[in-house]
Subunit: 342 residues, 2 copies
């Protein structure tokens, strides 16, 4: 599901273009900043080009939090965010989700109890649950963070991984305070090697992000920035995104159906490339994961997605790195067998 040919061609063109190896502005090429800005309705001056989403998150955490301080995260959450927070000497504190996203009453309590100045979240197709933040919670979430004197880091990694329904705008689009620091990345819908993303923010926090980005990574190689601009302007890009939408939807449906046929119930998200499967009470996660692996099925244990103790056993089932629906049906069959034996 990677546009390898279009990517290769775009990079090959960019690398040979006159001036492609000249030093770019530290903030990124203006047309690329403008492209990211248009997507969220902000201006190019509010966009900082980063070396992908992970580097953007590391920069944001370094810039916004003193070492040793707490940082609020959804529970469960993306393990890569927990790793980067811990490596920065921060203390991740979990705030539970429900089916409409983070629970705002608990978020407000957590700000008050911890004094945290940052909340990291994925409002769109949250990893691993696939949950989208309900429309009626959007504005209130920003208000709560603002009232706490805190920033919201909005990791919008899945905006190009929707399954075809209209998407809500990102939180940063309606942020009246400069409270939201938005992370966008092109890595997921292209290739893990196209490490190009953006940090987007209104107001004075932008300068803090900029100065940390400069010391952490200097700037993103110009040929990769030019190739990205080239790629997203081609008809092949839009074809790729349409194809990706259809492939993700088909695979999701195949996986949900296959699980259902084995009497395994799971919520069907409207975007992303995985399902979050609650295991029966008492199932030992690592025993089950090992049994799946032995049956040739790779699943992710749920434990690393929790900042503190996990309440119930889970696994994350990805449908990205496989050949298609037939392999999904076969894999879920083997998984169900392994579960019967666990």
């Amino acid at each position: 599901m990677q546009p390898e040919r279009a990517l290769g061609a775009a990079v090959a063109r960019a690398a040979r273009r006159p001036g492609a190896w000249q030093r770019p502005p530290l903030e990124g090429l203006t047309p690329l900043r403008a492209w990211f800005a248009r997507e969220v309705g902000l201006t190019p001056a509010q966009v900082l080009i980063t070396a992908g989403g992970q580097a953007a998150l590391a920069t944001a955490l370094h810039a916004l939090t003193p070492p040793g301080s707490p940082v609020l995260v959804e529970s469960p959450t993306y393990p890569g965010a927990l790793s980067v927070a811990r490596a920065a000497g921060l203390r991740p504190m979990p705030v539970p989700l429900d089916h409409d996203g983070v629970r705002l009453d608990l978020l407000e309590d957590a700000f008050a109890a911890t004094g945290a100045r940052v909340f990291y979240c994925q409002p769109l197709f949250h990893n691993p649950t696939g949950t989208a933040l309900a429309p009626e919670r959007r504005q209130r979430l920003v208000e709560i963070a603002h009232a706490a004197g805190a920033f919201v880091i909005e990791d919008d990694y899945a905006r190009r991984l929707g399954h075809g329904l209209p998407l809500p705008p990102p939180l940063v689009a309606d942020d009246p305070y400069g409270t939201v620091v938005h992370i966008s990345s092109l890595t997921k819908p292209t290739s893990p090697n196209l490490r190009v993303g953006a940090l987007i923010a209104r107001g004075p926090v932008f300068e803090r992000l900029r100065s940390h980005q400069v010391v952490d990574t200097f700037f993103v190689p110009r040929p990769l920035q030019e190739a990205t601009l080239d790629l997203v302007g081609t008809p092949a890009w839009h074809r790729h995104l349409r194809g990706l939408t259809a492939a993700l939807r088909d695979r999701r449906d195949a996986m949900v159906s296959a699980l259902y046929s084995h009497r395994l119930d799971v919520r069907s998200p409207a975007g992303g490339y995985y399902l979050w499967l609650r295991l029966p009470d008492g199932t030992d996660e690592s025993t089950f994961v090992t049994a799946c692996l032995r049956a040739g099925v790779a699943v992710s244990p749920g434990r690393p997605y929790f900042a503190a103790e996990a309440a119930e056993p889970h696994v994350r089932l990805s449908y990205a790195d496989i050949s298609g629906p037939d392999e999904i049906t076969e894999g879920i069959g083997r998984l169900a067998d392994a579960l019967g034996q666990a």
Copy 2:
């Protein structure tokens, strides 16, 4: 002095190669690790590919020092190192140099006085002074750090910027303890956009570097790694390095001569792309820098190269980003005029 054409061709080939967009190992491609390893006489397993020297330094400081701790630096030193240390919440403490590199008696005192666990240095063509660490200080420096329970971060940025004389091996090559963490980078002799470098270390510290690199930047784009391997295997690369050596030497000689003809005395380093000019006592650095700029000559003020107070006024004069010796002679003439008026 950048090999733009060879670089562009290497990247274009790499980007279209089958598999070029597949995820590389987190530590980097093995043949590229082996190439960096051969240069310093270590093994591929002791090499971590990084997104250039600045990212390598940020990762090393994050991995080796808890926030708030002191870090010893040469005085003067590279301002980018001071920035990344301060951004990581560290306290840079200066240790004076003489014409043979860092003063070991003062280094020993500084470890004892501060309890620092890291010393950052540039033993080869130190930035900004161009000093090379004297052979008789090499082993003793590592011994002192080892006795203090500290690491030496050896920033070997200038190894491919020599002016033609034989170069001493890096400190890491003779390190019996696993005390030296070595930074290599291809950025300087190629392009600021080829953000490919390496962290090289013996012993258990490697794993700490690896885990921090993964959370900070994930990995270096595979097409850039493949292009680097391709580039350094071409005859054009060796031609480029020979041409670079000759160009740097000619420019250095032109600048030293031009300064001398205006009765400005300066040490002539055996590598690098700049001179470190002591200004007459009482000269105001920023007034002088502004006067030069008004005369069309860009020079760097000395102040940012000092972790604490600068004792004497200096400027750094670069001969990298100009057309050649004629422009140097003209520029130094204008600089001398500006100095006469300052």
